[in-house]
């Protein structure tokens, strides 16, 4: 492999692209060629580096100097000073104060800020996702090698069970247990599916994992396939994620060339082939049985369960379906051991969790932190406080099926069990932080509108219930609601939960239940007084 004197990375998350990262990249390339440095300096676009206060960022290794925000006009000076003359280009450095998370950690090299703990995003932003050699240099595929040459499938599953890893798609089901179900299911043909149909509103962690480190997920899928006895896998990726899809296809080709996927992996009897299957826009396809129907070329309507996919799944064969983030934990567990993994997070929910921070805060973006951190900490440290000094009112977690968490619960540790005890749900890891100017009725309308449109229509409770709930909420927002409407909403939310066929319908009533539970006075003001306390709803 070619070695370079310096490595230049340009951030390519959506904020950077919007602020001209592509132009900066082109200018850098041009300038490096002009100076004849192309054999000494490598240049790559990298995915998410951290948060984006100074985007687009240009980072020069090995000195780990962070420049930003960089404009194309700055490039000539930067290349001339740093890469040609070898000194730091004065005036272009991003101030440490403006940075946070891992970037600040890299730049300061000491814990001046509480750093994130990155396991699933370990390589994202550090390696070139289009280059398998970069991944291999960072211990890539070593976990797969170890698993195939040293461990039996039973030992692999035992290790995952020992790590305590739980599914990160929202439900928190123990991963090792799920694997053992598929392994024990009778049948010669089995499948492993990576669920990358991330469509919970406010969630984009899986996209950034796949864009930043596609090989990590492929390696995990191969380990899973070895453990459960599968020889074929699918990545079901939502149709909107074109960049992630292209990176995956390229990564699969490279992995096959290197013999990490395909036939006789590591010269063993184990073979594993991965296909990428694009969705065509349907939230419901994130539900595992709907996803399977969709891969089979049908409407994405969830199946009745049982039988569960672990015994009757894709093409009626036993199938393991895991979320991207769950899988992304696997290689690190085998590289470092289950004991190491147990050190992070809480005893019942070990490891880290990625959160997307959104809404009325100073800094939005993706973070990865140990399980058990509190909402107050997230807002104060990683989101850098509420925007315009506003007061925190509520947070909505895990996309639309997540809970509405009032400020009174902001000191509850965010892990599966503590949240369950508090009667709220962690969901998929979106944290939509809202301030005092947010109307809960208006928020609930937006969420119900989503459900009524995304309901697949297969079962009546969900198809009709979400529509009726939406209509009732709209009536309330116009000041035309009655107190009976509130009782009806409560009943509707219970009926949705008990009678719907799949998770979408069952959880669609959660926002209603939560706002009536925690913000009843505000909802009643709409009905009794005909007033929206926050002035958001336009009363008729």
């Amino acid at each position: 492999m070619k070695t370079y004197r310096s490595m230049v990375l340009v951030s390519s998350d959506e904020q950077s692209i919007e602020k001209g990262a592509n132009e900066v990249f082109a200018a850098l390339q041009q300038e490096i060629y002009k100076k004849g440095l192309q054999d000494e300096v490598s240049i790559s676009m990298v995915g998410d580096i951290g948060r984006h206060d100074a985007a687009p960022l240009v980072i020069v290794y090995p000195e780990a100097v962070i420049y930003g925000p960089i404009k194309p006009e700055d490039v000539e000076f930067l290349v001339d000073e740093h890469l040609y003359k070898g000194r730091i280009a004065a005036g272009l450095q991003a101030s440490v104060k403006e940075l946070s998370g891992r970037i600040a950690w890299i730049s300061a090299r000491r814990n001046t800020l509480p750093a994130e703990q990155r396991i699933v995003l370990e390589h994202a932003g550090l390696i070139d996702p289009d280059n398998i050699e970069d991944y291999i240099l960072h211990d890539g595929y070593s976990a797969l090698g170890k698993v195939i040459s040293e461990l039996s499938p039973q030992q692999v599953i035992a290790e995952i069970k020992a790590s305590g890893l739980r599914g990160r798609g929202g439900a928190g089901f123990p991963t090792g247990l799920k694997w053992s179900f598929v392994q024990k299911a009778p049948g010669d043909k089995k499948y492993v599916i990576c669920n990358a149909d991330e469509s919970e509103p406010g969630t984009f962690k899986d996209r950034l994992i796949l864009e930043g480190d596609p090989h990590n997920v492929l390696e995990a899928m191969a380990i899973a396939a070895y453990a459960v006895g599968a020889d074929e896998g699918y990545i079901y990726i939502r149709g909107e994620y074109a960049l992630a899809k292209n990176r995956l296809i390229k990564a699969i080709q490279q992995a096959e060339e290197f013999g990490f996927l395909g036939n006789n992996i590591f010269e063993s009897d184990f073979s594993f082939k991965v296909h990428v299957h694009s969705g065509a826009g349907a939230y419901i396809c994130g539900e595992e049985t709907a996803l399977i129907e969709s891969i089979e070329g049908k409407r994405g309507e969830p199946r009745a369960r049982p039988p569960y996919p672990t015994t009757v799944g894709l093409f009626s064969k036993p199938t393991l379906v895991n979320n991207v983030e769950t899988l992304a934990n696997i290689p690190a567990i085998f590289r470092n051991g289950a004991d190491w993994y147990q050190k992070f997070g809480t005893p019942s929910s070990p490891g880290t969790k990625t959160y997307t921070i959104l809404g009325h805060v100073n800094s939005t973006g993706l973070i990865e932190v140990p399980m058990g951190i509190t909402l107050r900490e997230v807002i104060a440290i990683y989101a850098k406080g509420m925007r315009n000094g506003a007061t925190f009112k509520l947070a909505q977690t895990g996309g639309s099926s997540g809970s509405v968490i009032p400020a009174s619960l902001q000191d509850t540790p965010m892990d599966f069990d503590s949240f369950e005890k508090a009667g709220v749900s962690l969901g998929s890891g979106a944290l939509l932080i809202c301030d005092n100017d947010t109307c809960v009725v208006d928020l609930a309308i937006s969420l119900m509108n989503f459900f009524r449109k995304e309901s697949c229509g297969k079962c009546n409770p969900c198809r009709i219930g979400t529509q009726r709930a939406y209509e009732t909420l709209v009536r309330i927002s116009k000041g035309k609601g009655t107190l009976k409407d509130l009782d009806d909403l409560n009943e509707l939310s219970n009926n949705l939960y008990t009678m719907s066929n799949c998770g979408l319908g069952q959880t669609s009533g959660t926002p209603i239940h939560d706002i009536l539970n925690h913000f009843r006075a505000e909802v009643e003001a709409h009905v009794r007084l005909g007033v929206c306390p926050t002035g958001v709803c336009e009363m008729m």
């Binding site: 969630t203 984009f204 299957h277 065509a280 996309g399």
Partner: protein, 166 residues
């Protein structure tokens, strides 16, 4: 490709090419439909018929799949498709004002196309770009942190480029 130039022959040719590219297998139905939709702009009835013949799946199932997924359209759409994200994260940071401005500026309601076939305005669920909400996607270009006042400026880019190019 604009709507007027779509005749039966081109539709059939495109479908045949796409089916050849994938496998003529019912499990490849969604990739095939997506690709035909991308090339033709929508899925005309003739295309569904041809796909049904080649993939050996009843036309009713092809239609039922085509109408299930948001990214597939059985109705013609305008030259430029404006997708507006209406999910909660974009909504709470000022999405509603942007949406109202889009509607009044184009004089369209959700799902409609302008009489000159220039613009289609559709709402969409979360696109996973929530860090920069409110988000508007025009064709394949993403616009983030959009304010109502930026709407005319953003749309103007498309009217100009098209006047110059074709």
């Amino acid at each position: 490709m604009t709507i007027e130039t779509l005749n039966e022959q081109t539709v059939r040719e495109v479908v045949r090419e796409v089916v050849k590219q994938y496998e003529a297998n019912p499990s490849e139905l969604i990739p095939i439909l997506s690709e035909v939709n991308r090339r033709l702009g929508y899925l005309p009835d003739k295309a569904l018929e041809e796909i049904s013949n080649l993939v050996k799946t009843p036309k009713s199932s092809v239609l039922s799949v085509s109408t299930f997924y948001h990214m597939l359209s059985t109705k013609p759409r305008g030259k430029h498709v404006i997708q507006f994200c209406e999910s909660a994260p974009c909504h709470v940071v000022g999405g509603r004002e942007v949406w109202n401005r889009l509607k009044t500026y184009l004089q369209l309601e959700a799902g409609e196309t302008t009489p000159d076939n220039e613009w289609s305005l559709i709402t969409t669920s979360c696109l996973g770009l929530c860090g920069i909400g409110p988000v508007v996607v025009i064709d394949n270009d993403v616009y983030g942190n959009v304010t109502p006042d930026q709407v005319p400026e953003i749309l103007a880019k498309y009217s100009n480029s098209q006047g110059g190019a074709k």
